[in-house]
């Protein structure tokens, strides 16, 4: 994505007063809810350190754990498929659907399926994919994409949702009553669960030890998708694997508390096999599609690998002053917010998405709350370095794509000035005399769009201090 297009979408988002109000309100609530369940700072820190250790341990043995997961799942009767790219993953899903001659898929919430652009792909093959998570259902009706990785329709307020339902759901009256809106969605979706031949879901954690797929949700639609249709397809990024079942309780506590400020979600699904002989419900076939899509490349760099610790709780979005103001769509990619800024440039390449790494004041609000302690600001800096890097070695695609003479000379000049203190003093003095006459161009013009010009001092600190007899060595 070019910088211009990001800037344009930012301008559009910032000019949308309703959108900014919706986000400010919703994010403020999420921050308060999270704070309430993590009120004991010491205990929270202990838990975050544990979450970090669990994910680091899993990543340190990633290839082994993935093989172990495949073996355990296979033993349990879950069919495992590997997909290096989203195109391969889409094809695998399509083949399973076609082998059952199914025309309709009900979907639980899955960001990996968004990453695959699965709905569009299936649509092009004549298969209807129906989102059953309420937020996803809303934006599917509106023909939009998620603006948040946990609450995809958070950019809409009640009135906007009421209008979408009224316009798009046959027979739905206009109502802003939440209970009635829920009832409309439930009525519409309930039928679809029974009619669909395939249920598709994401995976929050995949346990290598037992071959268990863990899925958390609050609406019960996830359980419906994974139990009602005869076939269940789960899609996951390969970083979702953890070592053992005992890793789940702390991770679930961290994920749930960070994401929605709950102590536990309404539904915690642990899926270990298809329906067994004598069981009365559950799908007769379960497929697990494990997607790479650049993750194994990210894995190769020990620092950047920390990106893969992410549990997709979305709390970095909620606490981000940039996300809160521009919303998720302005980023132009599937994963918005701080996690999107470190993940997307690595997956899509720096040429296409590297600009995202610069759209941060590095305030650190995200890494202060990250449940698995991803050093987000350090990784943003690292991606900035990569963008200008002149070193030949490296794993990030598009490395060095921002190199240009103008900036190199500017920073070279800056370094020269700041390693020659006398020259530096002269420039300070000069700014003091001529600062008011600087032409409002370049960075100064951009500064002055929202602020007055800095008032340079006639005499700098060093000259003033010298006059007052303060020692200078």
């Amino acid at each position: 994505m070019a910088v211009e297009s990001f800037e344009k979408s930012v301008d559009r988002a910032l000019a949308d007063a309703q959108l900014r109000k919706n986000f400010a309100f919703a994010m403020g609530n999420f921050i308060l809810k999270r704070r309430a369940v993590f009120s004991d700072a010491e205990e929270t820190e202990r838990l975050r350190a544990l979450g970090n250790a669990i994910k680091q341990r899993a990543l340190s043995r990633l290839p082994d754990l993935l093989e172990q997961l495949e073996a355990a799942c296979t033993r349990n009767g879950i069919r495992v498929h590997w997909a290096e790219t989203t195109a391969v993953a889409n094809r695998i899903v399509l083949e399973v659907i076609e082998s059952h001659a199914a025309g309709r898929v009900v979907k639980g919430k899955s960001m990996v399926s968004e990453e695959m652009h699965l709905n569009a792909f299936l649509g092009a093959h004549g298969i209807e994919a129906i989102e059953t998570d309420l937020g996803e259902f809303i934006i599917q009706l509106a023909g939009e994409t998620p603006s948040h990785i946990i609450v995809p329709a958070i950019h809409k307020n009640k009135a906007q949702i009421a209008k979408i339902f009224h316009d798009k759901v046959p027979g739905a009256p206009y109502t802003e009553e939440v209970a009635e809106l829920n009832a409309i969605a439930r009525r519409t979706l309930r039928r679809k669960f029974y009619e669909a031949g395939i249920g598709l879901s994401g995976v929050n954690f995949a346990v290598a030890e037992t071959g268990t797929l863990c899925l958390v949700e609050n609406e019960g639609n996830g359980r419906m998708c994974t139990t009602v249709p005869p076939v269940h397809i789960a899609v996951m990024g390969l970083e979702k694997v953890v070592e053992k079942l005992a890793d789940l309780p702390p991770l679930l506590r961290l994920l749930t508390g960070s994401a929605t400020g709950q102590l536990v979600t309404t539904y915690v699904n642990l899926i270990t096999s298809p329906r067994r002989a004598g069981e009365k419900d559950g799908p007769t076939e379960v497929h697990l599609v494990i997607l790479d899509n650049g993750r194994s490349r990210i894995y190769q760099d020990p620092e950047l690998r920390q990106t893969l610790q992410c549990v997709r709780c979305g709390t970095c979005l909620n606490h981000c002053p940039v996300y809160t103001r521009i919303g998720g769509h302005a980023y132009g990619f599937v994963y918005p917010g701080p996690i999107g800024k470190i993940l997307t440039p690595q997956v899509e390449g720096l040429e296409k998405a590297g600009g995202l790494a610069f759209a941060s004041s590095l305030c650190g609000a995200c890494e202060e709350v990250c449940p698995v302690k991803i050093p987000i600001t350090s990784l943003l800096r690292r991606l900035r370095d990569e963008s200008y890097s002149r070193e030949p070695q490296g794993t990030v695609p598009g490395r060095g794509c921002r190199q240009n003479l103008t900036e190199r000379l500017a920073w070279g000049g800056w370094a020269f000035l700041n390693t020659h203190p006398r020259l530096n003093r002269m420039v300070t003095a000069l700014l003091g005399m001529a600062g008011d006459y600087l032409p409002p161009a370049g960075p100064l013009e951009r500064w002055m769009r929202y602020r007055t010009e800095p008032q340079f001092a006639g005499k700098g600190l060093h000259r003033r201090a010298k006059e007052e007899g303060i020692a200078d060595e």
């Binding site: 610069f358 941060s360 370095d385 390693t419 203190p421 530096n424 010009e453 700098g460 060093h462 060595e473």
Partner: protein, 250 residues
């Protein structure tokens, strides 16, 4: 709060490039307040910038060259006091990473160990006490991100501020949120930065405070620049300059 360590006889002062060029009064006040506690201040002429602008912009080699100059400018084993949470955070927490694999790594680590943010030094080492001679005044406080999250010195700053008994401190509802400065971020993404600073300015305006006090001149330049541009009545001041003024009846 009582001092945790014994008082040194001399300290270094790192003036920061922004204070040198735009806010010398803040720097001088910070120096005078240290000397008021009976500690001699040395302001080495060889210093310049902590290197953070390049470090955050994808130019680590240039940042390292400038940072190396600072290592040389502060050779003695005495504290380096920095009137900015951001520059202090850079020197204390990022120099070791910046010099990873560099022959100067160990001297960078030793240097980092000597860095104090100014208010932290005034409280933890000097145990400074102040008597307010100014008239009643309502102020609010803005926490800079790096003072808050890297240096973790906000309680020290507020401890000093609360000693001024005629000053009413109104807490800012969005105190922990970034003002949108972010160094080069403010000119690389002016629209986002502008939206952030205007929200900050609105937040300050609603407190009815006559002044916003902060420990970082980058934030102050951003916040007061946006307030001035909109013709709002409140002013901004560095904590050291504010204290100096208050104890002299201003």
């Amino acid at each position: 709060m009582t001092p945790e360590t014994s008082k040194p006889s001399r300290v270094y002062f790192f003036g920061t490039c922004l204070i040198d060029a735009v806010y010398p009064d803040a720097g001088l006040a910070a120096i005078r307040l240290i000397e008021r506690e009976g500690v001699r201040v040395v302001l080495p002429a060889g210093q310049s910038c902590c290197g953070q602008p390049a470090y955050n912009s994808g130019f680590p080699a240039e940042a390292r060259a400038v940072a190396r100059r600072q290592l040389q400018a502060f050779p003695e084993e005495i504290p380096v006091v920095v009137p900015s949470g951001s520059c202090a955070g850079m020197m204390k927490h990022h120099y070791p990473a910046l010099f990873a694999g560099d022959p100067d790594l160990s001297s960078a680590q030793a240097f980092s160990g000597r860095v104090f943010e100014w208010s932290e030094f005034m409280v933890r080492v000097l145990g400074a006490r102040y008597e307010d001679r100014g008239g009643p005044l309502r102020v609010t406080w803005h926490s800079s991100c790096h003072a808050l999250r890297e240096m973790r010195v906000i309680e020290h700053s507020k401890h000093l501020l609360r000693q001024l008994q005629n000053v009413e401190l109104v807490e800012l509802p969005g105190e922990r949120e970034c003002c949108g400065f972010g160094g080069t971020f403010s000119v690389k993404h002016p629209a986002i930065s502008g939206a952030m600073v205007n929200d900050k300015v609105d937040d300050i305006q609603r407190t009815g405070a006559a002044r916003v006090i902060a420990g970082d001149c980058g934030c102050l330049m951003n916040i007061t620049g946006a307030a001035d541009r909109r013709g709002l009545p409140f002013a901004g001041q560095h904590l050291a300059e504010f204290i100096w003024e208050r104890i002299h009846g201003g």
